[in-house]
């Protein structure tokens, strides 16, 4: 083999603490290395051209580039060597930036380590073999998980592009958090007026199949051909028969059920249609509150239903669909703010969350759009808003800024003035964060035109006093303590990843961060991709964001899915397991450990042997590590290749 080694300076990123020319010089002496040089920016066009020129000039059959992480530029250099006429797998990358120059300042030690990493890469490259991808057909259908505004946007864009879309929504209706909002900032236009038509589009689009009140049960398969199992939870109402007339909800005697859609502002019935614009507009029974299920007798809804849609014997149903791509748009939940004793820990009925307040403001909400104190139903005059509740607070493990609370608090203060002209709003804040088109103007307007009093400081306690709530806090700008006697306190509660996000991430085989938010492929360059091919992210599940950003990411995720599925065939990754049949003893251990069910037992002249299903194998290497006799190996990462690296490192 004729190996060429290229040591990248990455400007001063690497060259600042690594003697790149020295590494190149040492690498020249490594086995099979016939050409070695250092290079300013290997990834730039002149750098890639230099690699290609060297391949041709020196007849190289393998290339090592020592630069940044392979996550960043391995695809770049693989394409470059391919352009030079070498198989893309006859290339190895040594990471001397993230693993060397960025983490140490000692030039001598760094140079030694860089040289060792290059030696390892060259030693492995000597055992590399040409690999060629195979192609396989794709299923032109997208699964969208979550029917909030991000998921709706992704579904509509993908469906308009001609793809079939399957949408799965956990709740009985789509719409997500946006459907609960009264108005949206900074234009103060009606949330359901702009979202409602989109929801209807989802219901009516010929390419979209909606599974509401359903959850993802299982995902298997791989990019282009995922096999998805969806659990349609029992609604106890046959939705084919239900017309959404609402007669059942009027007659249901169990009128004290928790109203999930209205955030518990007022009770609801056990059989319900969440809100008038619900999509699908179908009734479902909340089993926990239904008298028939809990006391054994009732059946009123079944008696009044004009179409006989009620089916108490309904069971969960599993639906299987095949999709080519998946968009996760599972959104967020509000943090449980009752951990805060200073805000009453949930003891005071007149301390409400921003989403509860939103439902009070909404004309279709339980109060008919009239702001009422939950305790006595009176109209409040003095309303205190407290920002950064469960945001920017390391003490409860939520150190991040939720991003949207400053804006929605400003909006709610404006709406409060609109609803109750003689009211006075107070906003306790830490900082006003309003970057965005028209956002800062909006937060100025609430103070200057609507007279909301902004107090920069934290609230230390809330206590009841004669039917009012005294809010005591610091005013750090005035340098003193303030007390406000409030009729109503609205907490701007921050968001966190939706409940069950980690479990879903594991089903989708994508990563999630310490807060449960799904990890994007790259924070800047791959904001909607994940590290699992064919799985994309939209909306707050990737990190909290407001409506415009969620919609934009929904479109972006759809664009990625459309791009992926615009091809009829996809190339499979050849870095997969293969079985050396003469070493295999058919012990089945690989079959047991394979998370993808990619290995099956075959009969070869009466002997059991393992066989890899090439399109299913993801190249994780578990089988390889388990096989006692090393009969199953991972292409491009064979035991001998790893051992060559180990030996290159441990020569003494």
């Amino acid at each position: 083999m004729r190996i060429g080694v290229f040591i990248c300076h990455c400007g001063s990123n690497i060259a600042g603490t690594v003697d790149c020319a020295g590494v190149a010089q040492r690498a020249a002496a490594y086995p099979d290395v016939v050409y070695s040089t250092d290079i300013m920016y290997a990834c730039a066009e002149p750098g890639q051209d230099a690699v290609i020129a060297a391949v041709k000039e020196h007849g190289l059959t393998g290339v090592v580039v020592a630069s940044c992480t392979p996550r960043m530029h391995e695809p770049t250099f693989r394409k470059a060597v391919e352009r030079a006429g070498i198989n893309r797998y006859m290339f190895e990358m040594a990471n001397i930036r993230e693993h060397v120059s960025w983490i140490g300042k000692d030039v001598e030690a760094n140079t030694n380590k860089a040289a060792e990493l290059v030696r390892m890469a060259a030693a492995k490259l000597r055992l590399n073999r040409e690999l060629k991808p195979k192609s396989f057909p794709v299923t032109k259908r997208v699964l969208v998980i979550g029917g909030g505004v991000a998921g709706i946007q992704a579904a509509l864009d993908a469906a308009d592009a001609g793809l079939e879309v399957v949408m799965v929504e956990k709740q009985p209706t789509i719409g997500g958090k946006m459907a609960k909002l009264d108005k949206t900032f900074p234009t103060v236009d009606c949330s359901s007026c702009i979202l409602g038509p989109r929801m209807v589009d989802v219901a009516q689009h010929p390419n979209i199949t909606l599974y509401a009140y359903s959850e993802l049960e299982e995902v298997s398969g791989y990019v282009g051909n995922f096999d998805v199992k969806i659990r349609k939870k029992a609604t106890y109402v046959n939705w084919d028969k239900c017309t959404g007339c609402g007669l059942c909800t009027e007659k249901c005697p169990s009128k004290k059920s928790y109203d999930r859609f209205n955030e518990g502002v007022g009770p609801t019935t056990a059989i319900l249609i969440p809100f008038p614009q619900a999509i699908p507009k179908k009734a479902s029974i909340e089993r926990d509150y239904c008298r028939l299920f809990n006391q054994g007798k009732c059946g009123v809804c079944a008696k009044v239903c004009p179409t006989g849609a009620i089916d108490y014997a309904m069971q969960d149903e599993i639906v299987e669909v095949k999709v080519g791509g998946i968009v996760a748009a599972t959104g967020y939940d509000l943090v449980d703010w009752t951990v805060y004793g200073e805000y009453g820990a949930g003891r005071y009925p007149d301390v409400v969350t921003s989403l509860q307040y939103e439902r009070m403001l909404s004309a279709s909400g339980p109060t008919g759009g009239h702001i009422k104190r939950p305790s006595d139903g009176k109209e409040p005059k003095d309303v205190v808003f407290i920002q950064c509740v469960a945001s920017r607070d390391p003490s409860i493990g939520r150190p991040y800024c939720s991003g949207f609370c400053c804006m929605y608090t400003a909006k709610q203060a404006i709406l409060t003035k609109d609803h109750i002209p003689d009211s006075q709003s107070y906003v306790f804040y830490m900082d006003i964060r309003s970057p965005g088109k028209g956002y800062d103007e909006f937060t100025r307007r609430v103070q200057e035109e609507y007279g909301a009093r902004y107090v920069r400081g934290r609230v230390s306690m809330i206590y009841p006093k004669g039917g009012k709530l005294v809010v005591r806090g610091a005013d750090t700008l005035m340098g003193g303590q303030v007390e406000v006697e409030a009729d109503l306190v609205v907490l701007a509660v921050g968001g966190e990843a939706a409940a069950g996000s980690p479990a879903l991430a594991e089903k989708l085989r994508i990563s999630y961060d310490g807060y449960g938010f799904f990890m994007e492929g790259h924070p800047k360059l791959k904001p909607v991709e994940t590290n699992t091919a064919g799985v994309f992210l939209a909306g707050a599940c990737q990190g909290l964001k407001d409506i415009p950003s969620s919609v934009a990411q929904g479109s972006a995720a759809a664009a990625k899915a459309i791009g992926l599925l615009s091809r009829n065939m996809l190339d499979s990754d050849p870095q997969i397991a293969f079985v050396s049949v003469n070493r295999c003893v058919g012990c089945r251990k690989c079959i047991e450990v394979c998370p993808f069910k990619a290995i099956r037992e075959i009969d070869m002249r009466g002997q059991p042997k393992a066989e890899v299903i090439e399109t299913v194998c993801q190249g994780c290497g578990l089988c390889n590590a388990t096989c006692p006799q090393g009969a199953i190996q991972l292409s491009h990462f064979t035991d001998n290749q790893i051992l060559a690296e180990v030996e290159a490192l441990c020569r003494f």
């Binding site: 450990v593 006799q629 035991d639």
Partner: protein, 320 residues
Amino acid sequence: MSIQDELKSAIMAALPDLSCVIGWGPGPEPLRAAPLFIRGEADLEGFTAGFLSVNNPALYLPSLKGSKVGIVAKGCDARSVGQLVTETLIKREEVHVIGYPCGGVIDVDKVAAGLADACEPGEVGALREDGDDVVLDTPKGEVRLAKKDVTADKCGRCTFPNAENADVFVGIRRAPAAAEDTYADIAEFEARGTEELKAFWEKEMSRCIRCYACRNACPLCVCRDHCIAASREPHWVSQADDVPDKLFFQVIHAVHLSGRCTGCGECERACPLGIPVLKLKRALSRRVENLFGYKAGIGTETPPLLTFAIEESTIKERDW
């Protein structure tokens, strides 16, 4: 009827449906029995099941796959059968297990120590069990040794003296020697500390002659001719006669058996140089038991290290 005779009738009763029954028969010398493959009544001559029935007959089952085979099994042998079945290395319906209450088996090395200067174990003319003692005929006259002093270590911590998965059980079930395996021996051994253990194993492995008797005696080492120790592709272990390579092989052997080893001790018993290789396997078994609550060869659950679970039910990774 004695246990021997009862076993013989059980064997004869089962034999028509079986290609053979594996038990124990006369060995190369009076202190050692050898595996006996019984295909007819004539083969029962010299059949023995008792103090000398050391070998684990489950060893032969994977190679006899495809025909129904009977085995006479001690409790530990039956665990090997159970483990082989669990791993689908053999089929349960292809094995007929004939169990009997095992009272422990001989450790010839201990006999040698007990004989002291009287003679070599190979020179013993006959062995006779007499109550709690064994009486050995030696060229220098009779030597009487307490049975418990010449019984294998594993029998002292035996929790399954009766073949639990037997199709036919002969005799009366015996109470186990210990309620549970506490791994006290391993805890004590490991307490010596890394440096001392390293020196211990380097010394022990310097004696290893790489005969692979340990591997060949292991009923769960089914790779046989395909063992990684003899492979160039992949080339994990060199053929060099040096301590690191020999210890590396022992570690590979132990790792391949982690969560699978039933502690039958055949590896250590087969070692011609008396290297205590079972310690390595027991050290791992102890960890597997602690981490996963798994005992090999008892239930029908797949060994924990041979499964894929996103989250282990016994390891609360999220709480770390």
